[in-house]
C-alpha cells in the first residue's frame, strides 16, 4: 500500500500538470464556446486541449507525444501556443515539425513496400502473421506509430497507455465532480 501511494504521488503530480495545462488550453476556447453546438465546437475543443496537455507533459521524451503535438500544431497553432508559452512553442514547433516530417517520410517508405502474397501453412508463420497484423493495428492506434520499429513501439505504447490513463482519470473526476455538485444542489431544492 505504501509503495502504491508512493507511485500515486508521482501520478498525482502528473495529473496536476496535465490539469494545469488543460485549463490553460481551455482558456483559449472560453470565448468562442458560448454557443450551443456541442459536437462541433465544444467537444473537439475540450478534447484537443486535453490532448495537447497530455502530450506536452511527456513531450521531450516520447515519440507519440511529439507526433501528437505536431499534428495539433498543424491545425490549431494558437492552442499550442497558449498551452506551452511563446518561447517554448517556437522551439518546440521546429523540433516537432522535423520529427513529424521524419516520421511521415519513414511511414511512406514503409507503405511503399509491396507484400508478396505467399501461401503459408506452417504454424510459426501463421503466428507471425497474426502478430504482424496486430502490430500494424497498434501502430495505427498510436499517434506517430507508423514509423516505429517493434522495440520502440512497445515502449511508446507503454508510455501512451499511462498517459491516456492519466487523461481519462482527470477528465472523469472533472465530470464526476460537476455531476456531484449538480446532484447535491438538486437535492437541496
Amino acid at each position: 500500500m505504501k509503495s502504491s501511494t508512493m507511485c500515486n504521488s508521482s501520478v498525482v503530480l502528473l495529473k496536476q500538470e496535465f490539469l494545469k495545462k488543460w485549463i490553460k488550453g481551455l482558456h483559449t476556447y472560453s470565448n468562442f464556446n458560448k454557443n450551443m453546438s456541442i459536437m462541433d465546437r465544444r467537444k473537439p475543443a475540450i478534447k484537443l486541449s486535453a490532448d495537447v496537455a497530455i502530450a506536452s507533459t511527456r513531450k521531450p521524451a516520447t515519440r507519440w507525444s511529439r507526433a501528437l503535438m505536431a499534428d495539433i500544431l498543424g491545425t490549431n497553432r494558437i492552442l499550442v501556443e497558449q498551452v506551452l508559452g511563446r518561447k517554448q512553442d517556437m522551439r518546440a514547433a521546429s523540433g516537432l515539425m522535423k520529427c513529424s516530417k521524419k516520421i511521415l517520410r519513414r511511414s511512406s517508405l514503409i507503405a511503399r513496400r509491396r507484400v508478396v502474397p505467399r501461401r503459408v501453412t506452417e504454424p510459426s508463420s501463421i503466428a507471425r502473421k497474426l502478430v504482424k497484423n496486430r502490430t500494424s493495428v497498434l501502430k495505427s492506434l498510436l499517434p506517430g506509430g507508423e514509423g516505429m520499429d517493434e522495440v520502440s513501439l512497445i515502449q511508446e505504447t507503454l508510455d501512451y497507455i499511462v498517459s491516456l490513463r492519466v487523461q481519462v482519470d482527470v477528465m472523469r473526476r472533472l465530470a464526476a465532480g460537476s455531476l456531484e455538485e449538480s446532484l447535491c444542489d438538486h437535492h437541496q431544492f
Binding site: 494545469k20 465544444r42 478534447k47 513531450k59 499511462v162 491516456l164
Partner: protein, 379 residues
C-alpha cells in the same frame, strides 16, 4: 584469468541465459507477487474506483514513477535506461573468434555503474545481478569497465548517455564507437574485429561493448545473436506491458497479449472522446479557487477540489438520468454513449463539501505547484 576464460569457453556454456532466462523468471515472480498483493488489497477500490493502475503495479511502475517524478529530461534518461537494463543484459555479444587469448574482458552485464546502482535499488534486477556476479568473478577484472558492442542502433542512445566512468575519459573513442554502433549488420563483423584489435592494442583502455552470449546448443553467428538479443528486448518490454494492462497476466502468446493491449488502448481513447463530449455538454463554469485547492490537502479527496472548483451551469437539454453514478463506475469497462442532460440551471456559490464520492482518492501528495490565483472560466 585467461585460463578461466578459456575454460568457460571450452565448457561451452555461455551465460546470457543467466540474464535472460532466470532473471526474467525472477522478474516475473517479483511482478506477479507485487501485482497480486496489490490487487488483493484493493479489490473493491478496483470495482468502484477506476484506480490508476500504475499505483498498483509492482516493479514496472517504479520505472514510470521515477520517470514521472523527475523532470521530463531526466525522466527520459532513467526511463529508457531502466528499460534498457534487461535487454542490455541479454544483448551482449561475445566477441568470439576474434577473442584472442590476451583479450581482457570482463564482459557482461550491467553495462555501467549507474545502471547497476539503479538496478540494485530495484529488487527487479537484484536477483539478476547475483548469478552473473558469481559468474563474472572468474572473468571480471578489477575495474567495472565493460564493453558494449551494439548490434542494434536503437540501443545506442542510452548507452552513450549513461557512460561508465571508464569510458568517460575516452570521448573521441566513444564517439567513434557510437558511429560504429549505428551501422547495423554489415559492420558487425568489422566492429567486432576492430574491437578485438583495439582491445588488444590498448592495454589499459577499454571500450564498452555489449556481449551477447549464445546459449548452449544455439547458433552463434552474429545474425542470430542479434536477433536473439532483439527478441529478448522485445519480450522484456512485452512483459512490462502485460503487467500494465489489466488481465494480460494470464494470457500467453504474443498475439493475444497484443490483442488485449489494442483493446485497452482503443477503450481508453474512446473514453477520452466520451468524456470530452460529456464535459462539453455539462458546460461547467469553473471557479478556480486555487487557494482552496492548496488548502484542501490533508485527508480530503481531489474530488473535493474539483467540486469546489465547479459551479456547473447546466443547460436545459434533457432529463436527469438517475443511473449516472452507475455509469461512471461502468466507464472503465467500456461504455455506451449516453447523452448527458440535466434539466436545471444552477448557480451555486463556491464551496467545498466533504463528500463521499465513489471516485475519491487520497491526495496526500497534493503539493500543488499551481499558482494561487483565482480564475474564472467558462467552458
Amino acid at each position: 584469468m585467461l585460463n578461466s576464460v578459456r575454460f568457460a569457453r571450452n565448457f561451452g556454456e555461455y551465460r546470457v541465459a543467466s540474464l535472460s532466462k532466470p532473471s526474467s523468471h525472477f522478474r516475473n515472480l517479483d511482478f506477479r507477487r507485487n501485482c497480486a498483493s496489490r490487487l488483493t488489497m484493493e479489490p473493491k477500490a478496483e470495482a468502484t474506483q477506476p484506480h490508476f493502475r500504475s499505483g498498483e503495479m509492482g516493479f514496472g511502475l517504479d520505472e514510470i514513477h521515477s520517470l514521472i517524478s523527475g523532470p521530463p529530461e531526466t525522466g527520459r534518461n532513467s526511463f529508457t535506461a531502466l528499460l534498457e537494463l534487461p535487454p542490455p543484459q541479454a544483448v551482449q555479444l561475445l566477441v568470439k573468434e576474434d577473442f584472442p587469448a590476451k583479450h581482457l574482458p570482463p564482459p557482461i552485464f550491467p553495462s555501467n555503474i549507474g545502471l547497476i546502482d539503479r538496478a540494485s535499488k530495484r529488487s527487479f534486477f537484484a536477483s539478476a545481478d547475483n548469478p552473473p556476479a558469481s559468474n563474472t568473478i572468474l572473468l571480471a577484472s578489477s575495474s567495472m569497465k565493460v564493453e558494449i558492442v551494439k548490434q542494434e542502433p536503437t540501443d545506442s542512445q542510452p548507452h552513450p548517455n549513461s557512460a561508465s566512468p571508464a569510458v568517460s575519459d575516452q570521448s573521441p573513442k566513444s564517439g567513434k564507437r557510437k558511429e560504429r554502433e549505428k551501422k547495423v549488420k554489415e559492420s558487425n563483423k568489422k566492429s567486432k574485429k576492430v574491437v578485438a584489435n583495439e582491445a588488444s592494442e590498448d592495454g589499459g583502455k577499454k571500450l564498452p561493448y555489449v556481449h551477447v552470449r549464445a546459449r548452449r546448443g544455439q547458433a552463434t553467428d552474429s545474425h542470430s545473436l542479434a536477433e536473439r538479443a532483439r527478441r529478448e528486448k522485445i519480450n522484456a518490454r512485452m512483459k512490462l506491458l502485460q503487467e500494465l494492462v489489466p488481465g494480460c497476466n494470464k494470457i500467453s502468446g504474443t498475439a493475444m497479449v497484443l490483442d488485449e493491449i489494442i483493446n485497452h488502448v482503443q477503450a481508453l481513447q474512446r473514453q477520452v472522446e466520451f468524456l470530452s463530449m460529456r464535459l462539453a455538454a455539462v458546460n461547467p463554469r469553473i471557479d478556480f479557487n486555487l487557494d482552496a485547492l492548496l488548502a484542501a490537502e490533508s485527508g480530503s479527496s481531489i474530488d473535493n477540489d474539483y467540486m469546489g472548483m465547479f459551479t456547473p451551469t447546466i443547460w436545459p437539454e434533457g432529463q436527469i438520468n438517475g443511473n449516472r453514478q452507475l455509469e461512471y463506475q461502468q466507464l472503465w469497462q467500456g461504455d455506451e454513449l449516453r447523452q448527458p442532460g440535466w434539466s436545471r440551471e444552477e448557480d451555486t456559490p463556491n464551496f467545498i463539501t466533504p463528500e463521499t464520492s465513489h471516485l475519491s482518492y487520497d491526495s496526500s501528495a497534493n503539493s500543488a505547484p499551481l499558482h494561487s490565483s483565482q480564475l474564472k472560466m467558462e467552458l
